[in-house]
Amino acid sequence: MELIMAVAVGILFTIGVYLILSKSLLRIVLGTSLLTHGVHLLLLTMAGLKKGAAPVLGDNAKTYVDPLPQALILTSIVISFGVTAFYFVLAYRSYQTLGTDEIDSIKEEKE
């Protein structure tokens, strides 16, 4: 199971990196959010995917899954959510002010 997840995370990272290297700002934002998806799955996978009950004590199960990485992922999700929202608004604002979505033409323009 971990192997499949590792391959999936690898694919997510590949697509994310590919999108970040592209020209349009919107594709770059999408690339970063794919990267964060990949890294959250990685956190979940690296802590082990052994079978066990959900980490709720009321279940009276013999084994539970590790609750720590879930808390870490939850923290990381909201952080990257905030940053992505900011990035989208920044891209929108850049489009309004600079009048372009192409990262190359943004660079070339002189003051």
Binding site: V39, S76, L90, A91, R93
Partner: protein, 491 residues
């Protein structure tokens, strides 16, 4: 146990929250900000003296003993950095009053300022690797806001670059934490250090160490600094000073902490990496500082050179050079803040950023000219000033361990610093005044702030002996991480 440790984070946090409600009342915002800045300096000073007398202070959040809860650790290195950061940020705050402009002040400038301080102070004090990530993000998100606030074309352009590089490096940080958790199963730094020592730092842990080095180098501008010169020239001078003095230093602190506490068991593998990265950083930063003709770029490349120099101290790794690195780090925070403030004053006095349009300012602004001159000498490391003691210890360590090339690069980088700053001094202050009328600006209060920082720089140089008693205590923990582990894991 001491609740003193949480105050440096709590105070700016509460200040920032209060300032959200006072959007339109700029005068009140300034008063509250100054009061909170002063209070933080006081608390940091108390913390330094307490650590000096009683050893490492720890605070277990919620009473959970480590490694199960989050623990805050105030050792000498963290407390000294905290004190310096609070002094520097107070000076920059006072400089912002004059220079930042009402438009920005009305748009939550001081709120973001204090949130940034929360992130910086938290990163210094935390003893948990994931908590370090969270404080990094607090710091970075405030810095995104500060770099883009005002919304000029240049700022929008540079913010999207800065944002992208930091999102990628934060993603790598989380990935590194995931690998580390899988390898050793804990997040507390002291406990991590124990577990890594037990595991003997095999291949996997070396890979993780390099991943951490990449992450923190992206933040600190160590070799992977390509985003820095452009991004730091976009925001106004006060924000630039804040970034140049604090943000890269937090990355450096993280590198120092990681490679003196966690990954210490296989120095033969990690040390060469840090060594060549430090060398490349000093060379490339020096070339950049010499190449450009506009003030922001020259100053930004000077930040990069000093990052390389501190990493050089870490790479040498003798007790002497580690003490030197701590000393140089403290000096550099003060001096870089002063450098950016003076740079900002020169730019606003001349009305341009380009050196070729300046000249002859020494007649009109002699005080600023000579302050800049003394600062340049301090940054190079001329004996009575603050840059000397750190530099001499690092380079002596380098020569003692036979790292001749690296030591020569370090010395040569000092000459490039001198050349680049003297170029600014010569072109801006000497020669003939340009034809066009200089803008009329009131620089009294900004100069007073700069003078205050300069007094600190000189005092740190003259009182180096006295400062060294504290610095050597910080260096002790870097040399023997056992002290840190013992203090945290005592129960």
């Amino acid at each position: 146990m001491s609740n003193l440790l949480v105050l440096p984070i709590l105070i700016p946090l509460c200040t920032a929250v209060i300032l959200i409600f006072l959007k339109e009342r700029i005068r009140l915002q300034r008063w509250i900000s100054s009061a909170s800045g002063l209070l933080n300096i006081g608390i940091a000073a108390v913390l330094v003296s307490r650590v000096h007398d009683k050893g490492i202070q720890t605070l277990q959040m919620g009473g959970w003993s480590p490694p199960y809860g989050i623990v805050f650790v105030g050792d000498m290195l963290a407390s000294l950095l905290l004190l310096t950061a609070s002094l520097v940020s107070f000076a920059i705050l006072l400089y912002s009053f004059r220079s930042i402009g009402e438009e920005r002040e009305r748009f939550y400038y001081y709120t973001f300022f204090h949130f940034l301080l929360v992130g910086v102070y938290g990163s210094f004090l935390t003893g948990d690797i994931f908590n370090l990530f969270v404080f990094f993000e607090v710091m970075l998100i405030s810095s995104y806001a500060l770099i883009s606030i005002g919304g000029t074309k240049l700022q929008l352009r540079e913010t999207s670059k800065y944002l992208l590089i930091n999102i990628v490096s934060s993603t790598l940080f989380v990935a590194a934490v995931a690998y580390l958790y899988a390898a050793v199963g804990t997040l507390n730094m002291a406990h991590l250090s124990q577990r890594i020592a037990e595991a003997g730092q095999d291949g996997v842990l070396n890979v993780i160490a390099i991943l951490f080095l990449i992450v923190f180098s992206l933040k600190a501008g160590l070799f992977l600094f390509y985003w820095l010169p452009g991004s730091y020239s976009a925001p106004p001078a006060a924000v630039r000073a804040l970034f140049g003095a604090l943000l890269t230093k937090v990355g450096l602190y993280a590198i120092i902490r990681t490679f003196t506490l966690l990954f210490v068991n296989d120095p033969g593998f990690t040390q060469p990496w840090i060594t060549w990265m430090a060398a490349a950083t000093m060379i490339l930063g020096g070339l950049g500082a010499v190449a450009y003709q506009d003030i922001p770029r020259i100053l930004n490349y000077n930040v990069i050179i000093s990052v390389g120099f501190v990493a050089f101290g870490l790479a040498v790794g003798t007790p002497d050079s580690l003490n030197g690195a701590v000393f140089y780090l403290l000096h550099d925070m003060l001096a870089k803040a002063l450098m950016f403030i003076l740079g900002g004053i020169i730019i606003s006095a001349a009305g341009t950023e380009h050196l070729k349009n300046m000249g002859g300012m020494i007649r009109k602004y002699p005080l600023i000219g000579w302050m800049f001159f003394i600062l340049a000498l301090a940054l190079v490391g001329i004996p009575p000033l603050s840059g000397f003691a750190g530099k001499v210890m690092i380079i002596r360590g380098g020569l003692d361990t036979g790292m001749l090339t690296l030591s020569l690069i370090g010395l040569a980088s000092s000459f490039l610093v001198l050349y680049s700053l003297m170029k600014v001094f010569r072109l801006a202050f000497w020669g003939n005044e340009p034809e066009k009328e200089l803008p009329k600006v009131n620089l009294k209060s900004a100069s007073a702030v700069a003078a205050g920082l300069l007094v600190l720089v000189i005092a740190m140089g003259i009182g180096a002996e006295w400062v060294y008693t504290y610095v050597s205590q910080a260096g002790d923990i870097l040399v023997s991480p056992g002290l840190y582990i013992e203090a945290v894991m005592k129960e």
